[in-house]
């Protein structure tokens, strides 16, 4: 059902990221955009979705968007709180999580992720990013990986300067050869559309665009020559229910620093 309401590019990204979690049982949630998407999914397409945060909360049901991965709300609403070693060893590495949801600073055509350093050219030091966090093992051990980030040639680059977290490596078979248990990235959801890995090459290609976005716009915002599906589908516009839920979550999140 579509409604004639106004929405932003970011909201298109967030709503479609939430929709991607329909049917999942459990999700290991990175902070920021992934957390927005996962909490919106609980409010819309997947009320029973079990959220796991790396701070050790299992089954968090926050009513507002946490600013950080360790907000009190996450612990207070959780089914269980465990130690950080336990969440990584028994739950993530233990193969208990269906979907890992990650953001990224830089992504290449095989959905490999860089969140460590960016080369700024000769004579200049590398630009420092926050680092790996939980991402390498989330991407390795979850059943599958979803990614969400804004689309630009700064983020979608021909070659990443540092492989923090392996997506599909240099193509099909790389994950299996490295013995990575999970299927790896299955969708990259942006503010322009959705990219998915090609079954035979594992290279990301454009399968969906959001309403009002052209294939050319996506190509222009991608740092490599982006392949495009034969039939690019236009995603359903956000419903008023989705937008209401998303805006309520964000409003609650902004008013918590009391």
């Amino acid at each position: 059902m579509t409604d004639s309401v106004e929405f932003s590019r970011d909201e298109l990204m967030e709503v479609n990221a939430a929709r991607a979690l329909a049917g999942a049982r459990s999700c290991f949630v990175g902070i920021g955009l992934p957390s927005t998407a996962a909490n919106l999914a609980r409010a819309t397409v997947n009320p029973e979705l079990v959220l796991i945060y790396e701070s050790g909360t299992i089954g968090s049901k926050p009513n507002r968007l946490p600013l950080s991965i360790g907000d009190g709300e996450l612990a207070e609403t959780a089914d269980a709180v465990v130690s950080v070693p336990e969440v990584f060893n028994y739950w993530l590495q233990g193969g208990r999580i269906d979907v890992g949801f990650l953001g990224a600073a830089q992504v290449d055509r095989y959905a490999n992720i860089n969140t460590t350093v960016v080369d700024r050219g000769p004579g200049r030091s590398e630009a420092r990013l926050p680092g790996a966090g939980g991402a390498p093992e989330i991407a390795a051990n979850c059943g599958e990986v979803l990614m969400v980030l804004r689309h630009s040639t700064r983020n979608f680059v021909k070659k990443i300067d540092f492989v923090t977290t392996l997506g599909h490596g240099s193509g099909p078979g790389d994950r299996a050869e490295l013995g990575l248990p999970g299927a790896g990235p299955v969708a990259v959801i942006t503010d322009l559309g959705i990219l998915r890995p090609d079954d035979s090459t594992a290279e990301l290609f454009l399968t969906e665009v959001h309403p009002g976005v052209t294939v050319e716009q996506v190509r222009a915002a991608t740092g490599w020559e982006l392949k495009v599906a034969d039939e690019v589908v236009t995603t359903e516009p956000p419903t008023s229910q989705e937008l209401t839920a998303l805006r309520a979550l964000k409003a609650a999140g902004r008013s918590t620093a009391v």
């Binding site: 600013l67 990584f88 926050p130 966090g133 390498p136 620093a257």
Partner: protein
């Protein structure tokens, strides 16, 4: 048995120039007051260990006390970059900062190995990542039963671990609850430990989700109500998200940072809200 000391005494007695110091707390119960006391005492040439360096280490790094950082994610959670950390790494200001960089799973297991008095831990990690190229504390071992090759990470053994907890009793037994992160492991992995607490109670009453650390594995307890601010202590305070947001502009500029440090830490006053 833990001694009850003032924060000033405890830091002076337990933490020395050149030490490897872990200050843990995953967003929750971050021992800010102890970090500020380290800054006031100008304890320097430190190797700092922490999964999420966070604003607390941005302050210590900016103060020029840190030689090396062992970590897995260095950002201001939900806000952005740690500007003092970036300035040290990218520009060597106020001094160069050596890095030993890991993933969260790797760091957590390095603490587990330390607490277990093992020289290393095994995990299914780092595969396909460039991280092992930049550190000598990640390697591999082969399973003697299946032949599978797995990642090995070197144990962490800090000279001192500092944590903040909600309560201690008069004997120095400590209880923390809510998100308890990797604190028990960090204390047990260290040679010495300091716990700052919100309050002293006659007897600890075990809470749901409570983790008890017995007095006989702790060196000193210091009462510092609000000692986790701007992070929080479940049951005592809420996270000061506004401070975390404001840190972005304070820390972006060297002079603004230095002025903030002078006014809020070196002058001995509590961190302003």
């Amino acid at each position: 048995m833990a001694k009850h000391l003032t924060l000033q005494e405890a830091v002076a007695e337990l933490i020395h120039d050149g030490d490897t110091v872990a200050m843990e707390g995953f967003t929750h119960l971050i021992p800010y007051a102890a970090a500020h006391e380290i800054i006031r005492q100008r304890i320097t040439d430190l190797t700092l260990v922490r999964m999420t360096p966070d604003v607390i280490y941005d302050q210590l790094i900016g103060a020029g006390l840190v030689r090396k950082l062992i970590f897995s994610w260095g950002g201001n959670p939900g806000v952005g970059s740690l500007h003092r950390f970036r300035d040290a790494v990218e520009n060597g200001w106020p001094r160069p900062l050596e890095l030993d960089e890991h993933s969260h799973a790797g760091m957590a297991n390095r603490y587990v190995a330390g607490a277990s008095r093992l020289p290393f831990a095994v995990l299914r990690g780092y595969r396909g990542s460039d991280l092992p190229r930049r550190t000598d504390t990640v390697s591999t071992v082969a399973c003697p039963f299946t032949g599978e090759e797995l990642a090995a990470v070197a144990a962490l053994h800090p000279d001192v671990t500092v944590i903040h907890a909600q309560q201690a009793d008069t004997k120095g037994n400590v209880q923390l609850w809510g998100l308890t992160g990797v604190q028990k492991e960090a204390v047990l992995a260290a040679d010495r430990s300091l716990v700052t607490v919100e309050e002293i109670v006659d007897d600890l009453e075990l809470r749901p989700g409570g983790v008890i650390i017995p007095t006989w594995v702790i060196d000193a307890v210091a009462v510092v109500p609000g000692g986790a601010h701007p992070s929080y202590a479940a049951g005592y305070s809420v996270r000061d998200n506004d401070f975390y947001r404001s840190w972005d502009s304070i820390s972006r500029d060297r002079e603004a940072f230095t002025a903030w440090l002078e006014e809020n830490v070196l002058s001995g006053r509590a961190v302003s809200r």
